[in-house]
Each structure stands twice: as C-alpha cells, then as structure tokens.
Subunit: 206 residues, 2 copies
Amino acid sequence: MTSKKTVERLIIYKSLLQKFKDSGNEYIYSHQLAELSDSTASLVRRDLMELGYSGNQKIGYKINELIDAIQALIMPGKSINIILVGVGNLGKAILRYYSDLAPKFTIIGCFDIDKGKIGEFISHAKCYHIDDIKKITENNEIHLAIITVPAGEAQAVADKIIDAGIKGILNFAPIRIKTAENIYVEHIDFSNVVEKVSYYATKLKV
Amino acid sequence: MTSKKTVERLIIYKSLLQKFKDSGNEYIYSHQLAELSDSTASLVRRDLMELGYSGNQKIGYKINELIDAIQALIMPGKSINIILVGVGNLGKAILRYYSDLAPKFTIIGCFDIDKGKIGEFISHAKCYHIDDIKKITENNEIHLAIITVPAGEAQAVADKIIDAGIKGILNFAPIRIKTAENIYVEHIDFSNVVEKVSYYATKLKV
DNA sequence: GAATGTGAACTGTTTCACAGCC
DNA sequence: GGCTGTGAAACAGTTCACATTC
C-alpha cells in the first residue's frame, strides 16, 4: 500500500535522520528533513503519515522515534543477510563495502566458479562454488542476493538463486533478468545510468 | 519535455535493441520490445512517440533506425567522456568496467589524493591529484564525473568538479551532495538500495 | 488481421491550502 | 506564529480503446 516512491524516500530519510542525530540533534521539523533530502516539507509529511507516527506541532518529530518507526516498517529484522555471486573486481569491491558496514549487513557468503577463489575468504566472506548456493543458504534466512557475474551467466545464476528460495535480487550484470512475479529484482546498469546522467547534464548545459 | 521515466526507458530500449539486433533481427514490434523490457506494448509506443520516428503497421519498427533515433535524442555525441574521482576498491572496479566498454565511454582521467597513485595508470586511465581536475579537464568536454571517495570528502570533491565546469555527477558516496540547480546529480547509495530490495523481497515472501 | 498512433480515461504522486494545535 | 495532518486540487504517468494503416 505504501507507494514505491514513498518507500524509497523513507529509506533515505532514515539514513539522513541517523546522521542528523549523530550531529547532536534530538528533534527535527518536516522542512528540515525536506532540506536534507532535497524534497518538500509537504511531501515529507505525507510520507511520514504512512508510519502512523505523529510529530509535535511545537518541536517537530523526535528523531529516535522516527527512525524506529521507519525501521519497523522497512526492516523489522536486525541485520540484512546477503550473499554475493561473482567475485570479480566489482564483486570484491562491493563485498568490501558491505563488510565495512557490519552489523547492519551480514555477508553470509560469496560464490564463484573459479577454483582459485573457492575456499578463500574475501572481506571475511567465505567463497563457495555457485552450485552450492542452495546447500550453503538453507540454514540461514537470506534477504537478498547480489549478482556481479558477466552478462552471459547472470540468468543462470539468478535461476539458482531463486531455486535456493531467495526472493530479492540486486543485479549489476548488464542484462534484464527474467523471473516469476514473486521475485523482486532491482537492476543497476552502469552503462545506462551514465547515459542518463550524461543526457541530463547536456540538457542543463545552457 | 520528455519525461524522466521515458528517458530512462528509452536508454533501456536502446541497449535491448542492440542485443536484439545482434541476435539477427532487423525489425521489432512494440509488444516484443515490451516483453524484453518488462513493460507494455502501449507504453513502449507512447515512449517511441517522443522520438518522432514511425513504425510500420505490417513489419513493426526497423531496429537500426530506432536505435539511431534514440541515440539522436539521448546522446548526440559519439563517446561519453568521463572522469572518476576516488581510486579505491570501488573506483578501480568501476574504472575497469567502463574501460572495457570503450569506445562507447572514454575515461579522460582519474583523480585521487594518494601520492602513490598519482602518475600511475589504472585501467589505461592516468591518475592525477584531485586539485588538478580543472587543469586536466579544461581542454576536453567532460560529460560527467563519477565520485567514489569516502562520504566525508564527497562534497568538497563535488565542489571541485563543478568548479571545473562539469554539469553531471554520478555519486556513489553515501551522502547527498548539494549543488546549484543547473547540475544534475544521480545518487547510487548501496546501503539504501539493498534496504529497498530487502523490503520488497520480504513483502513478497507470502 | 494484426499492427501503429493517439485521444480519453484512469491511476498514481505531489502540491496546495488551511483547520487544529502547541 | 509556526508547526503538523490532511482533504482537495493539480499534475504526472499509464492503460484503454479504437480509428487508421499496411
């Protein structure tokens, strides 16, 4: 029911609120959160309505409670459990990224087909063979899989991920993965995003 | 005038059309392109209306001409010229990625503050000191800059990029960069996107 | 007969504007 | 007085439905 756009913004609000709190604030007004998120006060209030948490007309919203309310909607669990498939340059960089953000994220393992990598630890994540995804993940709840394999292998890898019961995929391979309706796939295509930025930058250059 | 959503889809269509052509096709129907892009025939036709290029009711759209029409709207130039600032793990992986896609993308140079990196070549891109962005880029048209520095340095780096006259930024640092109106910034925040996928995957898990 | 191009209807999202509250 | 919460208005994006074309 909460719209996709609202969900995206609530996630952004959460990280901005955390920073705002860390810099010594206890309360925040909708117009301040709008300023931080490049939005409008009105839209912020609409988004926050979804949470069922109310602010105070004099002092605004209590940051702690707001963060908790967003957290309760977005991610009831403590940590997000991730596997990553494809331990190339990009895969390694991404593993490192999430590994540094522990315990917010937990890398359950990474997967590849290269015998030289299997058995090794990459940023504290043990590397297994791709065919073992189901076996390795069956005792852990995996919230999503990150795909960083070459385009030609991405669909086959996605099928194995889905076969292992994982419902969320973040795909960096430049190919659109086909799945059943009940799987959520987010595509990040570096080529496409650069073309988009280039398009708008050129448009603006007047 | 062309909506943001339409621009995003046209870029996706372009890469899908290229693949469809490479697999031996000359013409395509709107419903086929819809299938490839997880969209609807109706929406595809609406998007293509923006191009002013017309299909044929019997044989559909000629792929070559469609690609050219999208290219003409999105990116009149031959290659997209990029600089990258922040040659860490992620920066290196991204440099490699675009370097492999030459000549579609051209890395004009990369920038860091680490003396050990300056002067070196990383994926064929020479590394310079961040303070030299303006000097190095003044003789090339740079379509966008990619930021892969730590959060704390991102705003200062963005200011230098803008000072060098670059209008497009693709920011991977987990902080919202503030710029004047006439700069286009696209944020890719790995934490936020993983939270989003996790949220929807959990919702779907019924 | 099956496709395109498109006005019109519909659905989703944002902004406006203001009552109520601290 | 300036804030929140929220109907209502405005705007944006998608789908429907069908006249037209090949």
